[in-house]
Amino acid sequence: MFKNYLTIAWRNLKRNKIYAFINIAGLSIGLACAMLILLYVKDEVSFDRFHNNVGNIYRIVSKNKYNGQEYKSTNTGFLQGSRFTQNVPGIKTFVRVQSGAEDIKTGTDVQSQDLLYVDSSFFNVFTFPLIAGNPQTCLKEPRSIVISEDMAKKQFGTTDAVGKVIMIKEDSAFQPYKVTAVARRSPQNSSIRFEALLPFKESADDARNNDNWYNFFLNTFVVLQPSANLNTVNTEIQKFYVRDAGQTFKEMTEKYGGGGTMGEYFLQPYIDIHMNPELGAQNGMVNGSNPTYAYILSGIALFVLLIACINFINLTVARSVKRAKEIGIRKVVGGERKQLILQFLGESFLLCTISFLMAIWLVILVLPLFNNLANKALAISYLLDAKLVGGYIILYLLTGILAGFYPALVLSGYKPVDTLYSRFNIKGKNYLQKSLVVLQFTLASFLIIATFTIYTQFNYLTTEDLGYDDSNLVILHKDRLKHTDAALFKNELLKNSNILGVSAKNGGQWGTAARNAIDTTIQFAYETVDEHYIPLLKIPLLQGRNFSKDFPADSTQSVIVNESFVKKAGWKTPIGQTVNFWYNNNETYTVIGVVKDYHFASLNQKIGPQLFTMKNDNMYGDYYVKIKPGSATASLKWLRSKFKEFYPLSPYTYKFKDDDNKRAYDDVAKWKQIMLFSAFLTIFISCIGLFGLSVLSAEKRTKEIGIRKVLGASVNNVAAILSKDFLKLVAIALIVAVPAAYMAGDKWLQNYPYRITQSWWLFAGAALLVIMIALITVSFQAIKAAMANPVKSLRTE
C-alpha cells in the first residue's frame, strides 16, 4: 500500500514539474529560514550556559534615581565585590573584570592589545578550559599574563607558550610579563571572550578608600552558595551598603551637590546578561543581544514558511480538479477515506522530505552570510546538536502536516459519484484560497514597505548634514598626550603640503556635569581640544570667539559651549557666564563662545549639551588631521612615518572620521539587509504560488477562453479577464498591509530622534512595486492562455 502511495506521489511530481518546483522551492526556502532561526535561537538560549557554576553566578548591578528618573547601571568599582563578599553571608567569592588595552611587543613591533584585568579567582568563577597552566595560580603574580591559544600562535607560533615572555608597557618602559597559562579559544556563545588576561591591579589605598564606593569602571561578578537565597542576599547587600557607605555618600553630596539618592544594589543572574538590553553585556563583555532580534527573526522565518505552506495548500486544492477522478476511482475500487488521507499526507511528506534535504543544503550554503547578518559565529557542526536535530525533525513533521492536512481532508472527502461523471467542479467561491493569497501578499507587502522605510531612514542617517565637515579627516590615536608634545608633532606634520590642518582632542568620549550660577545640573559631553579644532571641523561659531593663543587665560579658564548647553542652562546672554564643574567646586570657567549644535555623536542620539575646553591638565588622545582631497595614500604614508619617528613605543592606528561616523549605523545596515532578504523571499515565494494558481486557473478555464475567443474576444481582453481576479486579491492585501506597515514603521522610527517622515510616495512606490510584480506573474500565464488556438482548446474538451 505504502509503495503504491509513493509511486503515485513520485509520478505526480515528475508529471507536474511546475507544481513540484513551486512547492519544493518555497518549502525549502521556508524550511531553511526556519532552521537558521532555530539555530540562532538555540545559540541565544544556550549563551553563557557552558560555565559549570552558571546558576550561581551573578553580577552586582545597581539602580538609582536622578530627578525622579530611574537609571540602572552595570558598573561597579574596587569595593563592591570584596566588601560584599566579606560581609554578606551566602556570597562565596567574587571576581572583578575590567576591560582595557596595553601596548605589547614580543619582537620589535609594538601592538595595542585589548585585554581584561581580572582577579585571580577568575577561573574559579568561570569555566574557561586551559591548554596549559594552573588555573588556581596563573593570575597570582602581578607580572603574569594568561593568553588564548590564538594569541599564543600569533605571538609565538605555538600553543606551547607557558613560560615565554611578553613585553608590556608600564608608563614609558616595557616590562617582561610571564605567560602562566594558555587558554582555549573562548566559546563564541560567551559574553566574556578574551585574548589576554592580566591580574587586576589594586593598591592598598584603593581597597581602603571609602570614596571608591562611587568610582565605577568595571564588572563585578559573585558566586553564591548553592543554598543561598537570592532575595535575602539582595536585602543584606543593600543593608550593608547603606551602613558602610552612608557617611561617605553624605560627605560627597555635601561637597559636590547632585540630585542623586544612594541607590540600590542587587544581583543580576549571569545568564540574564546576554539578552538584557537594559543591563547588558558592557565594559569588556561582548555580543550583547536583544530578545527583540530573536522575535523579529523568528517572525520573519515563520512568515516565509507559512507563505510556502500556503502555496502548497492552495496549489494542491486547486489541482484537485485534476485529481478528483483518481480519488473517485480509488473509492469505487474500495479505498476508504482514511486511506486516502494517508495517501495525500504521504504526498505532502514526500515533497516535504525533498524540500527538507534541499533546506539542509541551503543552510550550509548561506550560513556564512547568515552569521554576518545575525552577528554570530555559528559553525555547520552546530547543526548536529541533539536538541537542534530534534527541533528540525519537529519542524519537518509540522510543515508536512500543516501543508498536507487540509488538502488531504478536502480531497479525501470527494464523492465518487460527483467526480466520475465530468460534472465535477470545485464548489463555492474558494474563499479559503483567496484569503490565503491575500494573507501571503499582505505579509509580502508589509515586508516590502518595511524595507523601503528602513532604506529611507538609513539613507537619511548616513547622508544627513552633520553640521560640520567630517570629510578627509584622519584620526590618529595616541594615548596620554601632553599639550606641549602635541604642538611639536603638529608642526612637523604640517611640513607636508598634503596636510591642510592638524588639531588635537581628548580620546574617546568624556562626559561630566556642571552647575551654573542658578544651580541647575547639566550633564554634558566634555571635549578637550586645541584652538584649531573648531575651524578645522568647520563647526559654525554663533556668538563670541574661538579659543586663541592670544588669550593666555583660554588654556585655564575659558570654555566654549553649544546651543543645547545654553538652552539647558537657561542663559539669555551666554557669553561671560560661569560654569562650575560638579567634581571640583573650586574651579569656575567663563563662557567665551557658543557654537551651533552639530552631531558630535551619531544621529542615533539627540544632540546634547557640549562643552569645549583647552585645559592644560586634560591630556589629548587623538590627532585630527585634515588632508588634501585625493591625497590619502601619500598622506597616510607620511603620517605613519612621522608617528613612528615621534612615538616608536606606541602602536600606530588611524581611521577616517567619516567611516567612523558610518559605523554607528552598522546595526541599521544589518537590519536593512535582513529586511531586504526577507522581503525578497516572501514576495518570491508568494509570486511563484500565484503563478501556479494562475496556471491552474487558466487550465481550468481553457474552454471558457476558447469560447470567448471564438466569440471575438481579443488577446488583451482575455488576459485581462484572467488577471483581474488575482490582482483584486493583491489590492486587498495592500489595503491591509499599508496601515499595518505604517504603524510598525512609525513605532520603529520613534527609536530615532532624527528620522524621516513616512511619506505617501513611500507607500505608493511599494504598492506599485507589489502590483507590478504580481501583474507580471499572472499576466505571463494569462497571455499564454489567451494566445492559445481556441480550436485546439475546444477540441480537447
Binding site: M1, N4, T7, I8, R11, N12, R15, K325, E326, G328, I329, R330, K331, V332, V333, G334, G335, E336, R337, Q339, K415, P416, V417, L420, Y421, S422
Partner: protein
C-alpha cells in the same frame, strides 16, 4: 441478490429539483445478466450508483443479499462494496498515473491481499482479458478497447459477485465493443451477476432481461431467455 422497492432519488440544486428515481422497484437474481435501457437523463446512472453503494437513495428499500443497505453509512458501504461489487464505466476511469498492472492491482491492495498473491491474481486476470503484454503501459498508451478491457479486469480481479457496467461500450467501436461484451458474457457464465446500462439494442441482446426506464421509473421488462 438485489431487491429494490420504491427507490427514490432527488437532486436539488439552487434553482431546480430533479427527480432522478421515482419509486423504482425491481429485483435481480443471483447469476442474472440484466440490461437497463432508457433515454439519456432518465436515471440509469443514478440507479447504478445506488446499486453500487456509491450513493444513497432518499427513500425506499434496497436489499443486498437480503440485507437492508439503504441506510448504511459511508464506511459500511465502502466495506461491502470492495468485497462484492465491480464497476465498469463508459469513460473507462483508469488512473492515468498508474500502469495497467497497477490499476488492476488497486482493488486487491485495498482489500489487503498480500503482494505475491496480488501478482498472481493480476496476471491471471490480465491474461484473461488478453492485455498481459501491455501490463507496464500507461492508460494513455492504449486504445479505447484495450483500456476498457483493463477496466473490466480491474472490476473482476477481486472476484465480485456483482458487476455494474455503465454504458461499457459507449466509447468503443463495434469490434472493441463486442470484445468487451464477450468478456462480460463469459464472466456471467462463470456465475457473476451483471447489471449493465446500455443504449445499444445489440448489446442488450447479450443479457437475459431488459429493464426499460423513463423518467426514473421502469416502464417495461423484456425477458430474453
Amino acid at each position: 441478490m438485489i431487491k429494490i422497492s420504491d427507490l427514490e432519488k432527488v437532486y436539488r440544486t439552487e434553482e431546480v429539483e430533479t427527480v432522478a428515481l421515482n419509486k423504482l422497484s425491481f429485483e435481480v437474481k443471483d447469476g442474472e445478466f440484466v440490461a437497463v435501457m432508457g433515454p439519456s437523463g432518465c436515471g440509469k446512472s443514478t440507479l447504478l450508483n445506488i446499486l453500487g453503494l456509491l450513493d444513497d437513495p432518499d427513500a425506499g428499500s434496497f436489499l443486498f443479499n437480503q440485507i437492508e443497505v439503504a441506510h448504511f453509512n459511508e464506511r459500511k458501504r465502502a466495506d461491502l462494496r470492495k468485497h462484492n461489487i465491480g464497476f465498469v464505466f463508459q469513460s473507462f476511469n483508469l488512473i492515468d498515473e498508474l500502469t495497467v498492472f497497477e490499476n488492476v492491482e488497486l482493488p486487491l491492495i485495498y482489500t489487503g491481499v498480500k503482494t505475491a498473491e496480488r501478482k498472481k491474481r493480476v496476471e491471471e486476470v490480465l491474461d484473461k482479458v488478453q492485455i498481459m503484454h501491455r501490463r507496464n503501459h500507461y492508460p494513455q498508451q492504449l486504445s479505447g478497447g484495450q483500456q476498457q478491457r483493463v477496466a473490466v479486469a480491474r472490476a473482476v480481479v477481486n472476484h465480485p459477485k456483482l458487476i455494474l457496467a455503465d454504458e461499457p461500450t459507449g466509447n468503443l467501436d463495434s469490434n472493441n465493443g463486442n470484445e468487451v461484451m464477450q468478456l462480460l458474457t463469459e464472466l456471467n457464465e462463470q456465475g457473476t451477476t451483471i447489471v449493465m446500462v446500455t443504449h445499444s439494442e445489440h448489446d442488450a441482446r447479450y443479457s437475459h432481461r431488459i429493464i426499460r426506464m423513463l423518467d426514473g421509473q421502469t416502464v417495461t421488462e423484456n425477458i430474453l431467455i
